[in-house]
């Protein structure tokens, strides 16, 4: 085992002495994941409007007008929906939140001085705290409009006052001294409104705190609507597996070349003449390639977790990493067996892996590929590696579901490794 480790250590030293190899193995995949992740996540100055679903259960003139206000607001992109569909859209992560205007919204909307403020039910995932605060603030801003309407439109104000006087009469919850005060005040206010018609100055507005204070613009009631994590959390959740594939491909090419290079340099002769078996030589190379892959996967996912906010299931991720490691070690050995010179092994490996990468989703995400291309991608080990990593990140695979890509990867790796070790001629040509 010491000799195998010595071979691996030597290959690592050589890898880290080669700046280009380090760049393409460790840095390029990160750059790839970051750049494409940023592009896909739309952080380049695109629209910031939040996609919301709106449900109008009240269907009154006021509720319809409020829906229209929401639709016209820059802060929102609105989809009108039913309650059930709206909840489903939020749960599937298709919309950030839903707004439900319940029955009675219009009635409350009219009452400025009495009754309850109009209620809006907001359904949002509890983890989206920042968006929740933003949504509440934006809704409040729209809610203030009802006061502006009330105070700037004397006719509407007169109607509001009539409605409020009627509500006070019917409401037993209001203390008698308040009732008496308001019964004295509101008719005078109505009189004043009549005098102020045409002045255009309005009456100003000042609200008091308190949940049931009618002077509140809106009563926003939040409902937790936990999103089912069946889609990517963000664009990096898609580009990180792609970056990982590029890094793995870098390892495969590097180690396949190193085997051929040992032959052309003559160092392989030294290894064969030394008291070390052929199996140990092959195992040293395979272990080096495997550990390099695991190292690069670890690095990328540490960066993904702490910097890019990508979340994953660690045991499943480890399963994916080990399976893809086995697969690509096998392919590395197979490629090394096909060529006699560094140039030819680089050419063969690059051509094969680029082709497999293209159809396997290393460049274009699998789910945006046309159907025929997705069918072809089944023949690419890159596809199964990406599926395995995505299964651990956002596809929410069960262990049973993980087994499909994992077993395919291991099978490819074992077959390629057996073929490679049988075909590879360690002796110098």
């Amino acid at each position: 085992m010491n000799k195998i480790l010595a071979l691996m250590k030597k290959d690592f030293k050589l890898l880290f002495r080669d700046k280009m190899a380090v760049f393409f193995t460790f840095v390029f995949p990160l750059v790839f994941a970051f750049i494409f992740g940023s592009i896909f996540s739309g952080d380049g100055g695109g629209s910031k409007a939040l996609k919301v679903a709106v449900v109008d259960l009240d269907q009154t003139e006021q509720s319809k007008a409020f829906v229209e206000q929401i639709s016209e607001a820059d802060e929102f992109t609105v989809t009108l929906s039913t309650e059930e569909k709206a909840k489903d859209l939020v749960r599937r992560g298709k919309r950030v939140a839903y707004f439900i205007l319940p029955k009675g919204f219009g009635e409350d909307y009219k009452g400025v001085f009495a009754g309850s403020p109009p209620e809006v039910l907001v359904g949002i995932d509890p983890s989206r705290k920042a968006e929740a605060g933003y949504l509440e603030g934006s809704l409040m801003k729209l809610g203030i409009n009802r006061f502006e309407q009330a105070f700037s439109d004397p006719t509407a104000m007169t109607e509001q006052l009539d409605a409020s006087i009627a509500q006070i009469q019917d409401n037993d919850d209001i203390p008698e001294e308040w009732k008496s005060l308001l019964n004295d005040y509101l008719p005078k206010m109505k009189e004043l409104t009549a005098q102020e018609i045409g002045s255009g100055e309005g009456f100003g507005f000042g609200g008091e705190e308190g949940a049931e204070n009618p002077m509140m613009p809106l009563k926003v009631t939040k409902q937790e609507e936990v999103v089912k994590r069946s889609g990517p959390q963000n664009a990096f959740a898609i580009t990180i597996p792609q970056g990982v594939i590029w890094a793995i491909m870098g390892c495969v090419i590097g180690f396949a070349i190193s085997i051929v290079q040992e032959k052309t340099l003559g160092t392989m002769s030294r290894l064969i003449v030394a008291p070390i078996s052929r199996t140990q030589i092959v195992a040293g190379k395979a272990l080096g390639c495997f550990v390099a892959q695991i190292a690069v996967v670890t690095l990328l996912f540490v960066v993904a977790y702490f910097i890019l906010g990508v979340r994953f299931n660690l045991p499943k991720l480890m399963l994916a990493a080990v399976a893809s490691g086995i697969c690509f070690v096998g392919l590395m050995m197979f490629f090394a067996s096909l060529a006699k010179t560094e140039r030819s092994v680089a050419g063969i490996t690059n051509a094969f892996l680029l082709m497999m990468g293209m159809v396997g989703g290393a460049m274009i995400p699998l789910f945006v590929m046309p159907g025929w291309m997705q069918a072809i991608s089944n023949f690419s080990p890159v596809k199964w590696a990406i599926v395995a990593f995505e299964g651990a990140i956002w596809r929410d695979f069960s262990y049973g579901e993980m087994m499909t890509p994992v077993l395919i990867l291991i099978a490819i790796g074992v077959v390629a490794f057996i073929l490679g070790t049988r075909m590879v001629k360690l002796e110098q040509a």
């Binding site: 030597k10 050589l14 340099l265 160092t267 030294r270 064969i272 003449v273 030394a274």
Partner: protein, 281 residues
């Protein structure tokens, strides 16, 4: 002792080694000479266990060269610079030492000795890529003797080396002999073999054409000495098998001798007489 019996090796239609048999006693420097493609490297590869043979046998002290015990006795200096250019001299030696069963405590000592032996102690931490061709050749030797092998196979070790490094390598080879090692040396340079080797084998087209000490080969295949005498009577050329006798006789008949020159046969003459003067590409 190395014993080679009726060795044969084919690569497709090419019969690279044909029925070679020889014995190399321990403690000798044995030169294996031959033109390009003669079968020298193939023979060395079989003797070191790098490749197998189709028929015949090779033993080192009675051991199969591919056995682990025999491998511990073999030091191979390949024809190419078999080193990792991006690693330092010390890193290279450390790696190759780790492949042999050298106790960890002794590895540093062995590396120091090997570097000192080839005169590279002061460049131990430099990358091999920064070395001259001669330094690389010397380090190539150091990497092969770390584990103190009994049999050292040197496949054209002086190719592309400057005179100073070549001289140092000659010193190293002679020193290895002093240390009781057996050196098997292949080269194109006849003067190297003549200077270093106790015994020489000349090989061509996979066949061993001649085997013996340099003097034996000279007397068997070198031909007569060419003698020229310049005197008042003019220049007289003749070939002689017994120069002392023939020269005295010739001088008796010459007045006022201006110059005498002799062209004695050397190993190159033997080599060309045996392998011909046709170009080998």
């Amino acid at each position: 002792m190395i014993q080679v019996n009726a060795l044969n090796k084919r690569f497709g239609s090419i019969h690279a080694v044909k029925d070679i048999s020889l014995e190399i006693p321990a403690g000798q420097i044995f030169g294996l000479l031959g033109p390009n493609g003669a079968g020298k490297s193939t023979s060395i590869s079989i003797m070191t266990g790098l490749i197998g043979c189709d028929s015949g046998s090779v033993t080192l002290d009675g051991l199969n060269p591919q056995s682990k015990k025999a491998r511990l006795k073999i030091g191979l200096i390949p024809q190419s610079i078999a080193l990792y250019e991006e690693l330092s001299a010390l890193d290279n030696l450390s790696f190759f030492a780790s492949l042999y069963d050298i106790p960890k405590k002794k590895i540093s000592e062995k590396m120091e000795w090997a570097l000192d032996f080839v005169g590279l102690s002061d460049r131990a931490n430099d990358r091999v890529s920064q070395f001259s061709g001669g330094m690389k050749r010397r380090l190539n030797l150091a990497a092969s003797i770390l584990h103190d092998p009994d049999y050292i196979f040197m496949d054209e070790p002086t190719a592309g080396v400057d005179p100073q490094s070549r001289n140092k390598l000659f010193e190293n080879v002679l020193k290895l002999k002093e240390l009781g090692k057996t050196v098997i040396y292949t080269t194109h340079y006849m003067e190297e073999a003549q200077k270093l080797c106790d015994k020489v084998g000349i090989i061509d087209h996979g066949q061993l054409l001649a085997l013996g000490t340099v003097d034996e080969l000279l007397s068997r295949y070198g031909g007569d000495t060419k003698v020229s005498i310049s005197s008042e009577q003019g220049v007289k050329h003749f070939e002689s098998g017994d120069v002392s006798k023939d020269l005295i006789e010739a001088l008796k008949n010459s007045n006022k001798v201006y110059d005498i020159s002799m062209n004695r046969p050397d190993l190159e003459t033997v080599f060309l007489n045996l392998t011909g003067r046709q170009l080998r590409d």
